[in-house]
Each structure stands twice: as C-alpha cells, then as structure tokens.
C-alpha cells in the first residue's frame, strides 16, 4: 500500500471520507477497484473514531509571555493551540508534505509562478458565527506581510507584491516566481482570522475544530468542540485542555500516573523508563529538525575549506545519534535537508567518521593549535555532551577542540550567529526553498554560517520559480552538494519528535511536517474508553 493510499485509508478510518470519494482517489493513485473496495471496508471497520471525552495534554514550551495572537505564536504550546482553533489556507500531506486543500479549495499559478489564484472555500463560518470570506483572507495575509507587521511569518512572505480579492478569488502577485507558495501558506502563523485579526489579534476566533474557552498564558488553555465545524473528519474529542509543563520529569510523572493523555518532548535519556510504564505508548516521528555545529565561512580559521572538511570528517555521527538522541534520530550529511522534504536529493554519499581523511585535510589547511567551540545546554538538548563527544572523536584525528561552555541566557544573542564556531539547532521548514532562503542565501537574515556563494544564490532563485519538478529536484541536488562540501555546517544528526501518550489515545498521525502531528494532534486523535 502506498503512503498516499495509507493516508486515504486513515481518512476513511477517521470518518472524513465516504466510500465514493475514497474509491475515486485511491484508483487515481493506481489501486484496482477490488483492492480499493476491500481496503475501504477494513479501514472503516478497524477503528471507528470515538466521539467525546476530555483530552488533556501536558506540553513543554509555554510561558507566561505567550500571546494568543497567531502573528506572535512562537512557543510549542501556542503552535499547537493555533492549529487547534484556526485553519490555514493550505495543509500538508502528513507523509509526503504535498500541499492539500484546506480553506483554499484549489489553486493555480501563472506559467512563471509569479501570479497565483486561490479559490476560497464557501460556507465556512468563524466561531462567532460570521461567514469566512475572501476579504478576511486578504486582510489576514496583509497583516502578516505589510510594512508594519510584527509577525513571525513576515520572513516567508517577503516576496509578496500584492494581495487582492478578484471576484471572490484570492490573487497573490509575487516579486519573482515561487513554485512553493501553497506550502508557504501552511505556515501556522497564517491562520485566517475575521478581518484578518487587525482589530482584535488576540480574540482567538478562527474556523478550526475547537473554540478557545479559556487562556491563561503559561498555565493552561481550554477548548471545546466547534459544533459548526466545516469538516467532519476531525475534532473527535469534546473538550481539550493544554497544560504548560516545562519540567521534563513532571511531564513523565503526569503521563505515567495517567493524569494527562499526552506529553511532548520526551527526553531520550528517560525513554527507557517511560517504556516500562504499562499504559504508555511512545510516539516517534521523523522530522526535518536538526542539531548543528556551525562555522563562519568568512572568519579565520574557518575561512579555510580544508579545516572545515577536517572537522566534518572528525565527527562521529552514528555515535551522536546513539548517545545524544538515544537512537531516536538519523545521521546527517552536512546539508540541512532530509527525506522529510519534498524533492529530497537521494543518493548523495553519506559522510562518515574518518580520522584519516580528517588528518589529511587538517594538515592541508595548515592550521596549528586548537579550535574553540562554544556550546551551551540551550543550544540543543544534550549539546554540551555532544560537544564533548565531538572533542573526543576529533582528538583521535589529531585535532584539538577546545570547548567553552556559555551561559544559556543570552546564548542566542551573544554566541549564536555572532561567534565563529558554536552549537545550535534548526527546526524544519515547509520546503527546501524556505530553508535555504532563510539560512543559506548570501543575504539571508539568519545565514549563521556566512555561506556566501553566487552560484548557489542563482540556483536557489531559479529553482524557486521552476514548475518542472524533475529540473527542480536536480537543482536542489546541486545545491545540497555545494552546502555539504563547501558550507560551514557540520550536521551530525536529525532528531525525531519523541512524544508519549496513554494507550487510550488512538488515531495519532505521524506527520513529518512538524512536532505533535504537525500541531494537529488535538483535532486528529480520539479517546478509546
């Protein structure tokens, strides 16, 4: 069964698709009539989602400073919350990340991908009973992209020239072609609000499966089912409660005592303990987030590619995945893309720990003495341990890494993106283009490796406007090889999302888009009594 068919079967199970729709789409995906019919029956009978119940989540990543304004949603808790009360124009396929219709029914680009027309779904109501219109969509997108914006999505919307309502359709004109615009509109900041949320950004009113019933920042947020939800394949539990629990041990205690149904960010070090608990299930999903050691390509001694290569060969990736991630992750290959991205360039040779090659490049670089690596507990979970592992494996290659442990507070303003060699992490982005544009383009705001390569920049821009997927994939491959062999990123590992739930929780969808089922956790699961 292909992933897509599996996904369709999941939708049937979740009650969101009738027989006719399922058959049509499965057969389009290449399944025979008999096979599709049989699959529909087993899926429909296997696990009917149960309606009702109270879903209680214990989540890391909330603070008293959280705002319910989607433009300012940055924490994990607000990310999930926004997905629970609001809808974006486009969603992504949980397994392939292909764009799927949500509040936009369909879309089409102009041949050069600079003008996009989105058909907006009709008959959708906001929680306050008002109809959701194209004007609301236009106002929302404008609020996140105009010159007065304070939105976290401002960066991904930079290339927008105009946003218009043309005869009920949303028409977006871009400065230059971008084949990924639908994926950009899956960004969680961009949930559609009445009048764009211009007057009342913090009203918490959207079109999502749940209405916000109470919100105490950093403490607790509650929701109840939106009885007028425009979709029937989601929102099974009656009420949802999100409790902010920033202490890892507290989350584990709450889950294993059954006082919450779900927790996020299980520490790999304690996974084995959690597994012993009979009523708990571990939910792990591969993701595009990764941990890195970043070198500034324009500062000595890291302006020497041989030194960068020496350090890339001097890191033991397998050991890092085992020790730092407890096995919940995959080795990285020094470019920031893995197979959770669409158009992932397959077949690039995996770089492995090779002390001999490291020695060779180190000698060739002519560098003598030690290199200073700055690290901190906040760089990523286990960053200090990972730095020490790096130091040990480099030592065997004759490279002396000196470790400086920096205070966590202020690390992101004083060390990261400032000092020439430091530990850091990146979350996943919707597309390869978004990632490279944010962190590898010469002019990118967060080019934290100072990787500046004209050829790379040109490729990135032309790939962005390329609608032919084959050509595009080749370009991304070329770019990946450039970053891998010339960039300043040492990327030892991609981390899995590790969550835990009680066995009552059913229907969890492993979504490679982001943590917690790409934030859709509360609307996708149900509780089995």
């Amino acid at each position: 069964m292909s992933d897509f068919t599996k996904y369709l079967a999941g939708r049937v199970t979740a009650g969101g698709m009738n027989r006719r729709e399922f058959m049509g789409r499965s057969m389009a995906a290449g399944l025979t009539l008999a096979a599709a019919s049989q699959l529909f029956d087993t899926s429909a009978n296997a696990q009917q989602p149960k309606k009702g119940g109270h879903l209680k989540l214990g989540l890391e990543g909330g603070a008293a400073t959280d705002s319910i304004d989607p433009a300012k949603a940055t924490s994990q808790v607000m990310f999930t919350a926004v997905r629970t009360w609001g809808d974006t124009l486009v969603e992504t396929h949980p397994q392939t990340r292909a764009p799927l219709p949500s509040l936009a029914e369909s879309w089409a680009p102009s041949p050069d991908a600079t003008v996009w027309t989105f058909k907006i779904r009709k008959g959708v109501k906001f929680h306050d009973g008002k109809d959701m219109t194209t004007d609301d969509v236009v106002a929302t997108l404008k609020r996140h992209s105009d010159s007065k914006t304070e939105s976290g999505a401002a960066g991904v919307l930079k290339s927008i020239k105009s946003i218009e309502n043309k005869g009920g359709d949303l028409v977006v004109t871009l400065v230059s072609g971008n084949a990924d615009l639908p994926q950009i509109f899956t960004d969680y900041h961009l949930v559609i609000q009445p009048d764009g949320g211009v007057d009342k950004p913090t009203a918490g009113i959207g079109t999502g499966p749940y209405k916000v019933t109470s919100f105490e920042p950093g403490v607790r947020m509650t929701f109840e089912k939106n009885a007028n939800d425009w979709r029937s394949d989601r929102g099974f539990v009656q009420t949802v409660e999100m409790i902010t629990m920033n202490d890892a041990t507290a989350r584990i205690a709450a889950l294993s005592s059954g006082q919450v149904n779900f927790i996020n960010r299980v520490d790999p070090k304690t996974v084995s303990l959690l597994k012993r608990s009979p009523n708990v299930e571990l939910l792990t999903t591969a993701g595009g987030g990764h941990y890195v050691f970043i070198m500034h390509c324009d500062k000595a001694p890291f302006d020497n590619n041989d030194l960068r290569m020496a350090l890339k060969y001097a890191i033991d990736r397998e050991e890092m995945v085992k020790r730092i991630l407890g096995g919940y992750g995959k080795v990285g290959n020094d470019f920031p893309i893995n197979d959770t991205y669409a158009l992932f360039p397959e077949g690039i040779e995996q770089r492995t720990y090779d002390p001999e090659k490291a020695k060779f490049h180190f000698k060739k670089s002519g560098h003598s003495g030690s290199v200073l690596l700055r690290t901190s507990e906040v760089a990523f979970p286990g960053a200090v341990d990972a730095s020490v592992l790096f130091q040990q494996s480099a030592k065997k290659a004759g490279i002396d890494i000196e470790i400086k442990r920096e205070p966590g507070d202020g690390y992101w303003s004083n060390v990261w993106n400032v000092q020439p060699f430091s530990a850091s992490y990146w979350g996943s982005r919707a597309t390869q283009d978004q990632f490279y544009s944010g962190a590898y383009l010469s002019t990118a705001d967060w080019n934290d490796t100072r990787f500046k390569n004209e050829k790379f920049d040109k490729l990135l821009i032309s790939a962005r406007g390329e609608l032919d997927e084959r050509k595009r994939k080749d370009m991304y491959r070329e770019m990946a090889v450039m970053v891998r062999d010339e960039g300043g990123t040492i990327l030892p590992m991609f981390n899995d999302f590790v969550n835990g739930a009680t066995k009552q929780v059913k229907g969890y969808v492993n979504d490679i888009g982001n943590d917690m089922s790409n934030g859709y956790l509360a609307s996708r699961v149900w509780l089995d009594a």
Partner: protein, 326 residues
Amino acid sequence: MPDLKFRARFPLLTLIVERLLLSLMLLLAVSVLIFGGVEALPGDFASTYLGQSATPQAIANISAELGLDKPVVSRYFSWLGGALQGDFGTSWASRNSVSEQVGRRLGNSLFLAGFAAVIAVPLAIGLGMLSVHFRNRMPDKIINVISLAAISLPEFFIGYLLILYFAVNFGIATFPATVYESMGLLERLKAIALPTATLVLVVLAHMMRMTRAAILSVMSSAYMETAELKGLSAGRAIIKHAAPNALAPIINVVALNLAYLVVGVVVVEVVFVYPGMGQYMVDAVTVRDMPVVQACGLIFAAVYILLNMLADILAIVANPRLRHPR
C-alpha cells in the same frame, strides 16, 4: 526637643514610620537596580521574543511600538510615573495588563505559601518544644534526624519523591498541581497537597532547630535559675521570663522562612507545575519583558521588607527591653 519627646512617647510608632519611609526608598533603589540589570542583559525584547522567525523589519516594528528606541533614562521615568499611580503597564509579550496577571499569580503564590505556613509554623514550634522537653532523649533525636534529613535533600528531590510515591505509585494525590481560575476551593486544596507537603518539609527544620536552640539557651541562663530558686512555678517562669527573650530569634527565623515561601520557591513551582510568581518572573526575564520583571521584582522586595519589618516589630512588642536601645 519635641522631636525626641515624640520619639520617647511613641517609640513603636516612630519606628514603624521610619521603617516604612526607609522601605519606600529601598523599593525605589530596587526598581533602579532591576531596570539597569535587565537593560544590561544581552539581547533585546523583540529579537529574543521572535527568535529564529524574526525579520529585522518585524523587530524594528515591535521596538518602535513599545518605544524601545527611546533612551533608557526616559523609559525608566515614564515607567516610574505609571507605577507611582498604580499602573504597572502592560506586558510587552502578551499585551495583557501586568497588574491583573501579577494579581492572579501573587494570589496563587500566597495561597500556597499561606497553607504551607499554617502547617509548618505551629508544627515547627511544637516539635521544637517537644525536643526541648525530651532533650537528648529518643524523641529529640528522632525529630532532629528526620528534619535534618529533609533540609539536606534539595527541594526538587523531595518533590520528585513525593510525586513518585503519592501520585505515580499509589495514585492518591493530584498531580500536576496546576490551579486555575474556575477551580473550586476544595479542588484547589487537593491540588496543592503535594507542593505544600514539600514546602513544609523544606522549611520545617530551620524553624524547629531555632526554636529548640533559643529555648535551650534561655532556659540555661542565670535569670531562669534565679526564677526557679526564688520559687516561681515553671509555667510562670516560662511565660514571664523565658518566652519574651526566646521569641525574638524564633520570630525572625519564621519571618525569613515565610518570605522564602512566597518568593523563593521557583523550583517547587516548576516541579509541580504550579502557576506562581516565581515561574512568572523567570518567563518574563527570559524574553526581557521589562514591565513584568519590574512588577515581580518590586513585589518580591516588598514581601521581604514587610516581613522583616513585621518580625522586628513583633520582637519588640514581645520583649520590651528592645524598645529602648542602649
């Protein structure tokens, strides 16, 4: 001199007024210190808050809206102007009224601290007296060993032990201890059972040992011997002579511990997921949310100052000798 006369006639009143004025100046100094401290921290609010998703444009827009581009001194005075009128401003991050949020969080902190104190203070003093009564005998030793063991363990560890046994293994206690607005009193009390127990264990030993030491030192003093020799009954001797002299140090220790219960329990709040002041302030410092940090800092300082002042006044009331400093 009339001034001296007033002072001599109402020594207690004078002292209270003096202390209050001093406290106000202290609070002002504290507010300058906090403002300067947060200002000196690396990173500004807008870039810390938006993190990796920030663009220079968004950062500039936020800074302009909050007036962060104005000079430090003028920002301090505009904050001070508001604070003097009881307006602590709005949180930069959540854009909610600071007074309202702080009020709720402070209420939670006082609720937890209050219950811990109601249990811990009488228990500590009672146990202290018990151990004096059974000095160097079995009950004294048991009380000492247990309370010292409790104070030697870090508070988060006691918390985790209680959670492990009472919430996870036996499943009789409520966890997490999150309280929220719509919660009834009984539910609330159930929720805070474990954190209260943790706090009681943490502060018990300090107060208990001080009670024991104070009473013992007074009991072995010459005037107690005289009282006994001149034929006073034990009860009269304790109430008239021993208690006033022993009370001052006990009150001081109790006040210190009460202050700790209100302002020093961040770790316990985190472990039990309790929405108190400590966690609130830590969250605010993390993103440099100045109005919230200021309000929290001032409240913490005020609690310390008030409790210490109260301790001094009570000690003076209990022991008239202290009213006339030599």
